[in-house]
């Protein structure tokens, strides 16, 4: 299991477009991937799940991956958060 904590750097937070980007990226990997905010943990391959998290600017999010390609998966999603989902 690989874990990493990131924070949301784009002003708008995770709305539909960033959520779609995360799902697209996560779906490329075979590993199970979750995002966690506070005590809520959701499947990173589910758009509605990610939007339901209600992750706004500055919220810390934990990325958890488990499976054969877990390290690459965590890195790829981390990179998305770092790139501010290509926004702002």
């Amino acid at each position: 299991m690989t874990e990493s904590t990131v924070s949301i750097k784009n002003r708008a937070g995770i709305h539909a477009r960033p959520a779609a980007l995360i799902v697209q990226t996560a779906s490329k990997f075979a590993s199970k991937i979750w995002l966690e905010k506070g005590g809520d943990r959701i499947n990173a391959k589910s758009i509605m799940g990610i939007i339901t998290l209600g992750a706004s600017f500055g919220t810390p999010i934990r990325i958890i991956a488990e499976g054969a390609d877990e390290e690459a998966a965590t890195k790829a999603i981390e990179a998305l958060f770092e790139s501010r989902f290509e926004e702002d």
Binding site: R41, N43, S46, M48, G49, I51, T52
Partner: protein, 332 residues
């Protein structure tokens, strides 16, 4: 099964609850607003009669304190006698709040003491027993153990069915066809489940703001209420059956008879579970619909697979008896 958030529930949350009709608590805060941030940590009530009389042993201070006619009459008597020591002692405890029922108004002296002690005073127009039964129902629901599950909750022929399975197996598509066939969507993707009274699993959407939306690959996000009408949705529903959808695995043995009952555990309760293999040409919504009807039959006391097997056994037995009868050597 994922996620389990700790419950932080303050007095302000209690006043703020959006409850309707027979659940409404009708609470108003009349004093001690500074203390509205106090936490309610136990789903219990206490009538502070003994405490007011000066007996503080085993005083359940952490509960909601309910003041009915009796307590208020006693407070008035104390006021006339000019002994408010009991009231001051009461507010020296970190009690979450005092609730006056029957629209009873606490005296100015009591309100001042509450204000000084930072304890919120709430008033409701309900009677003590009615308020007690409502508030117990409401707060035990809030304190019920809960979890969030990745799946879709639908109501099919009155049975609450939780569809689970890996991403992309077709949970949402199955739910969409079920809705099209006149059934109801409760929650898509993220289902929040509470164990109510330790016996019922109640499922609902995790987020009211997001409401009844679904994500369908190729279409994007769709609004079920707008597309199919309010008849196609439901806010919450008891989970009575879990259907696990999975890609057809040729090496796995699937139930072919249905006499053995599989169950799965959610929050410590056992729920019947079906494993449904998905393969082109298998119409999953129809299978789920049939599973719902079969589940209703079982609840009515008719277990198809067992009944069928009983009939086969009875038939074999009668055949044996006939054979025995015809093959007897001493038969006339």
């Amino acid at each position: 099964m994922i996620g389990n958030e700790p419950t932080v529930f303050t007095v302000l949350d209690l006043v703020d609850l959006d409850l309707k009709e027979q659940n409404s608590l009708n609470l108003k805060c009349v004093a001690g607003r500074a203390g509205l941030g106090r936490q309610i940590t136990v789903p219990d009530l206490n009538r502070p009669g003994l405490a007011l009389a000066g007996f503080y042993e085993s005083f359940a201070w952490s509960r909601l304190q309910i003041f009915g006619r009796g307590e208020v009459a006693y407070l008035e008597k104390l006021e006339v006698e000019g002994t408010n020591q009991a009231v001051n002692t009461l507010f020296s405890y970190q009690i979450p709040c005092c609730i006056f029922t029957n629209s009873l108004q606490p005296s100015a002296g009591f309100l001042a003491a509450a204000e000084a002690g930072g304890c919120p005073i709430l008033v409701t127009n309900l009677s003590s027993s009615e308020f007690s039964s409502r508030v117990i129902r409401v707060i035990s629901d809030i304190f019920a153990p809960r979890t969030t599950i990745h799946g879709v909750l639908v109501e099919v022929f009155g049975i609450g069915i939780l569809l689970v399975g890996d991403s992309g197996v077709g949970k949402s598509e199955t739910a969409l066809e079920l809705i099209e066939r006149g059934h109801r969507l409760v929650a898509d993707d993220v289902v929040e489940i509470r164990c109510v009274n330790g016996s019922i699993l109640m499922g609902q959407g995790a987020n009211k703001v997001i409401g009844h939306h679904m994500e369908i690959r190729g279409l994007g996000i769709i609004n079920i209420t707008h597309l199919f009408g309010v008849g196609a949705i439901r806010d919450k529903k008891q989970i009575q059956l879990v259907c696990g959808l999975e890609d057809w695995d040729p090496n796995k043995i699937y139930d072919r008879v249905g006499t053995e009952e599989l169950t799965t555990e959610i929050l410590g309760l056992r729920v019947p579970k079906l494993e449904i293999p998905v393969k082109p040409g298998r119409n999953i919504p129809i299978i789920v619909e049939t599973a719902a009807m079969n589940e209703r039959l079982k609840k009515m006391g008719y277990h198809t697979a067992q009944e069928f097997n009983q009939n086969v056994l009875r038939w074999l037995e009668s055949e044996n008896a006939r054979a025995l009868y015809f093959n007897r050597d001493d038969y006339l």
